[in-house]
Symmetry: C2
Subunit: 341 residues, 2 copies
Amino acid sequence: MKPTVHDIAAHAGVSLATVDRVLNGRAGVRPAMKAKVEAAVEALGFVRDVAAANLAKGRVYNFVFILPANNNSFMQNLRLEVQAAAERGARERMSIVLRDVPAFDPAALVAALDRVLEEGLDGVAFVAVDAPEVRAAADRLVEAGIAVVTLVSDLSASRRTHFAGIDNSAAGRTAGTLMGRFLGARPGLVLPLAGSLMVRDHRERLEGFTAVMGERFGARAILPVLEGRDDPAETERLVTQAIAEHQGIAGIYSAGAGNRGLIHALSMLSREARPVVILHELTPATREALSQELIDAVLNQDAGHEVRSALRVLKARADGDAVIAAQERIRIDIFLKDNLP
Amino acid sequence: MKPTVHDIAAHAGVSLATVDRVLNGRAGVRPAMKAKVEAAVEALGFVRDVAAANLAKGRVYNFVFILPANNNSFMQNLRLEVQAAAERGARERMSIVLRDVPAFDPAALVAALDRVLEEGLDGVAFVAVDAPEVRAAADRLVEAGIAVVTLVSDLSASRRTHFAGIDNSAAGRTAGTLMGRFLGARPGLVLPLAGSLMVRDHRERLEGFTAVMGERFGARAILPVLEGRDDPAETERLVTQAIAEHQGIAGIYSAGAGNRGLIHALSMLSREARPVVILHELTPATREALSQELIDAVLNQDAGHEVRSALRVLKARADGDAVIAAQERIRIDIFLKDNLP
DNA sequence: ATGCTCCTGATTTACGTACCTCAAGATCTG
DNA sequence: CAGATCTTGAGGTACGTAAATCAGGAGCAT
């Protein structure tokens, strides 16, 4: 049978109370005693039964997810995944609350983070706006012992516990390679799009993209970045205008959201005039566009995985456990027409 | 607070014992009482605390992983992942045992499965050899209420609980699209490789690959499949010979293992003569080749994810819980030089 | 030696569920 | 209506850990 704390106490020749003090890092144990207990744990291969421990603690994990009140498909989906996780979380003693803040608004985000600090919850996951005041707010939370996970978009130079999202620079580089190779010898310009250069994920993607285009497909000219604020209508307007203005657009890379507008603009073009298009996030609209060959590749981050990963990290952090690094690496899914799920 | 069995009893106006009888399907409860309890469960949104229940039952999950005694990189890695999962599983009352059977040996696999049946364990995960007698053995286990998960390679027409592995046909199609687009207008033949066409994974990949090449890149000539038996030396010999024989090989798709031999053959070619190469499984050798641009893309299945997914399904099945389908879909990772983890 | 702090043991209660026993009430059988 | 059988209530113990209390011993400074 699996050894219990009682076995440890017996083997170490100390009382249950002392074992408890050592295992839970409580004060009031001489080093000699501590060593005896640790030796017994080692010798018997004791592992704490987390189910029993949580039962005894009557612990409830209080977590908050703060998401931008953005109605693009990706954020909607992310919201659904958080809600699904909240439902499942109930049976594992997790209370998961979802809060909205205005998009791209550092002050609102700071207010939401400070509220978490006041309430003294166990952990928070949020989509970062990369601003100094947000970083300061996040660091205050960490200082207070609250687990802080950034979701989708990271916060530079902060002390956040973990980032649950993809390596956006690698994603941009991957998009660059696919663009360069799919274009091959076809002449023409490349147009990059973003939601906003204020969020770190879009900025990093574009940096990776342009770096690879420069390094490996240097002859290709790249237009200045257009910012569509993740809004379909604005994005469509910008793209339509750019296509009209520059006659030879051969490739479009969209690093942000609001791609319904882009897709609609593409559908107006003749098949021959259609550029190679690579964009992010698998949504009903982009899936449809991919299977109809309006676009060529979709780079995706799985919102469900990100939410579940963030939760695992928050829980592990609250329990003082280690995380499985490989499991928490969020992968960049590359979807072509052929491997749509 | 979350409702407990006591709350149910109070709300239904019955005793704890009756609630217990209803919840655990014990006999001796009149339909009227049963309905009252069920109504209370519904009304209060009661969900059984699995941790407490397992603690009370003293339940231990007994799972077995049966892997082929094959020493290629992928299987070695799979074995390591199972061992890591076994260590972590201990703290969640899971006993995970790893057993080897000779590779591609239906009789040995059947014996191992029958042993699981005799021992009355809770679940088994195994790499299937696709044979009728294996299917029959798997069905016997399912019949006995034991959870059965196939890993990496599936078992056709069986009643297995779940398959933890990738869609190999989609993987082959994806390879085909990448090959066609990477080649672009470059002239030349395409050479497909496999370990053996007797193995179902390889066969499905090649079918998907050739289907896409035919549908969308029809002008491209494809050579007959070479079978390297997953052996590096044999693969190298075949590839070297094929390159010498047909002067214009522009692309190589390797659906199987033994890719070290292929990579060595590629390293002998001049940069200009080097074909577009797409192959499977990220190993130290293929990773190195990718970063040195000896090969162009690697399709990968994440062994760690497969093992963890199999375990989640086994546990959910043993508890009678539902699985999160989206979480258990094993994805086809596409690695370029730019998004290597 | 006195009072003080620090360390340790012994013991108890609690968490939510499972499962057991025993007694008594309800319902059925003839 | 008596007896048998089924259903229900009441109460307990157990699982493995956490966390608290209290008493007393060791060690220290004064």
